[in-house]
């Protein structure tokens, strides 16, 4: 009889964890000597507001979150990803990962294939891009092909993407020149509080799971301060396990530029942490982590990236709920669950992503919905509770609306301690949600501080 127990963590996506971080300053200096130009990383702006910073992608590539991707994609790789959501090596990967510069900057840099470019962040050396290829893109075309259209992807795309969609705007706002090649971090950034205690790159995450004796781990994707419905989802989804429920519940928050009106990332990560500090989930079973990425809100497409990240971290199961990583009504609200239950052929998945060549070991846990039922006296699962007209459905927008009106969400919606975390950051930023001021200040500070590193003489000119 086959053993049903899961004894090991899943392998990294692509077979090997990428780690492209040089920690030896002497080696860093040697590598910098080979660079022929310096480029200061700039945010991607949409209507003057920062919507993306490529440094987050460089971090996620070099620390292995996006394994087996090692850098900015070549033209052939980009085509492969847009056409069939596969890297040239055949491994599933959903999104273009690109280093874009303006024509003006490209001319100033004077670099080409074979050159190494030193990338500076916050005025300090940060990473090296080994330029393999230079090519042009049409950003609007990349945007449309990234997310799909109702004509080409009728299974799940409901309406054409437009400027109300943050992810679409990110790709539309890219510069037209792409420098393709591998990234290497040569000056390790210091993650700033409060994010530092949630920084578990795949290697560290796997070490932590092993230290805790976890072999079955389930991931919870978040971009929200957790309400009691999220908490019920996490606890109940974690029953999947093998001969017992999952050893660990890992919350992985996507940290980056986000939609105006969402909660600040600081409140999101500390809100989740509060669930174990206040005793609602034992800390021995709960780990809050972050990934640096400017969320694209690509629903099924984003779920593939989540699978890449979390499998690389050593996670065996992934919760997928209604409207996963979605914004607006562009996709079917169950698009992610459709992908992970039967596939979406027009996106290159004749079968679910764990059944295709180059696919995943991580397994989905497709969950319907939790709501509050005063008759069941619990946060009830929608496939169980049949008390129509009595139960109340959760809605993040509704909860944000309550806060906006100055109404304290009752304990049926937020644990009191979690709401106090929202208030803590509200006091800090003067506002409970992301607004233009927050996003701009955040873009200046980012999530990291850069240690000082001297530029080589030939690059100071």
């Amino acid at each position: 009889m086959p053993d049903v127990r899961i004894k090991t963590l899943p392998p990294p996506h692509g077979g090997k964890l990428v780690e492209r971080v040089v920690r030896d300053p002497q080696m860093a200096r040697k590598l910098m000597e080979k660079c022929s130009a310096v480029y200061d990383i700039k945010p991607t702006l949409f209507k003057g507001n920062p919507v993306r910073n490529v440094y987050r992608e460089i971090m996620s590539v070099c620390y292995g979150f996006f394994s087996p991707v090692e850098g900015s994609m070549t033209k052939a790789e980009l085509e492969s990803v847009l056409e069939r959501r596969r890297l040239l090596s055949g491994w599933v990967f959903p999104y273009p990962i690109l280093f874009d510069v303006s024509e003006e900057d490209f001319k100033k840099l004077g670099v080409g294939p074979g050159d190494w470019l030193l990338l500076r962040l916050k005025g300090q050396p940060f990473a090296i891009l080994e330029i393999e290829e230079v090519y042009e893109i049409t950003p609007g075309d990349v945007a449309v092909r990234t997310f799909g259209t109702p004509d080409k992807n009728p299974e799940v795309v409901r309406v054409p993407f437009d400027q109300k969609h943050t992810g679409y705007n990110i790709y539309c706002s890219l510069n037209p020149i792409i420098l393709a090649g591998k990234y290497t971090i040569i000056n390790e950034p210091k993650i700033r509080p409060p994010f530092d205690r949630f920084w578990y790159p795949p290697k560290r995450a796997r070490e932590e799971f092993e230290r805790r004796g976890w072999t079955t781990v389930i991931a919870h994707q978040t971009r929200n301060v957790p309400h009691t419905g999220h908490e019920a989802l996490m606890k109940n989804a974690a029953y999947i396990g093998d001969i017992k429920p999952c050893d660990g519940i890992v919350v992985n928050a996507i940290i980056g530029a986000k939609r105006i009106g969402d909660f600040p990332d600081e409140a999101i990560v500390e809100g989740h942490e509060m669930l174990h500090l206040a005793g609602y989930i034992k800390p021995e079973r709960h780990l809050v982590t972050i990934t640096l990425w400017d969320m694209r809100y690509g629903n099924p497409i984003e779920s593939l990236l989540h699978a890449v990240i979390r499998q690389n971290m050593g996670i065996s199961f992934h919760m997928f709920g209604r409207d996963h990583a979605a914004l607006g009504e562009y996709y079917d609200i169950y698009a992610t669950q459709i992908l992970w239950s039967k596939g979406i052929p027009s996106f290159g998945f004749e079968a679910p992503p764990y059944e295709v060549d180059g696919g995943f070991y991580i397994r989905p846990q497709n969950i319907a919905e939790f709501w509050y039922c005063p008759k069941c006296l619990e946060f009830a699962y929608s496939d169980n509770c049949n008390h129509k007209g009595i139960y109340s459905r959760y809605s993040g927008s509704f909860i944000r609306g309550l806060i906006n009106e100055g109404v304290t969400p009752p304990p049926q919606i937020y644990r009191p301690e979690v709401y106090k975390v929202v208030v803590k950051w509200w006091k800090e930023f003067g506002y409970p949600f992301n607004n233009e001021k927050y996003l701009k200040e955040r873009e200046e500070k980012l999530e990291v501080d850069m240690p000082h590193m001297e530029l080589p003489a030939h690059l100071k000119k």
Binding site: R197, L277, P374, S397, G401, N404, V407, P410
Partner: protein, 133 residues
């Protein structure tokens, strides 16, 4: 499919509708922890509300959400004036949006912080389980 506009009722709002036919329309939600009035609006009118505000959207329940608090106050005022939960309430509120423009702009910049003691969570956070590497 029709859309919905919900107005949450605090003590002050409940007092304002006490003794009126609106009182019977109050819906308890989350086991009675909150109370609200709901206006059903045709799709087109729902979309018109969404178009007025950059953050507004329909949520998965079909409710119009993330409209400014000033607009919700205005809708409640119109409910009381018209003693109705019909779509004409929303139409009247949309017409008066120019009168609350300043309040809406202010809301985007600042919202008063609730007067809540958070010392207990600050104490818990002094000893986090997870530490930086």
């Amino acid at each position: 499919m029709a859309k919905f506009f919900g107005v949450v009722l605090d003590e002050t709002r409940l007092k304002e509708i006490k003794g009126t036919p609106l009182e019977e329309k109050v819906e308890p939600i989350f086991g009675g922890a909150l109370k609200r009035l709901v206006i059903e609006v045709p799709d087109e009118l729902g979309q018109k509300v969404i178009d007025q505000f950059t953050k507004a959207r329909f949520d998965a329940r079909g409710f119009i959400e993330e409209t400014p608090a000033a607009f919700k106050r205005l809708v409640f005022k119109k409910i009381v004036e018209k003693k109705s939960l019909g779509p004409e309430v929303i139409e009247a509120a949309i017409e008066e949006i120019p009168s609350i423009k300043d309040q809406i702009e202010k809301e985007d910049r600042e919202l008063p912080v609730p007067d809540i003691d958070i010392s207990d969570i600050l104490e818990l956070q002094k000893n986090p389980v997870q530490k930086p590497a």
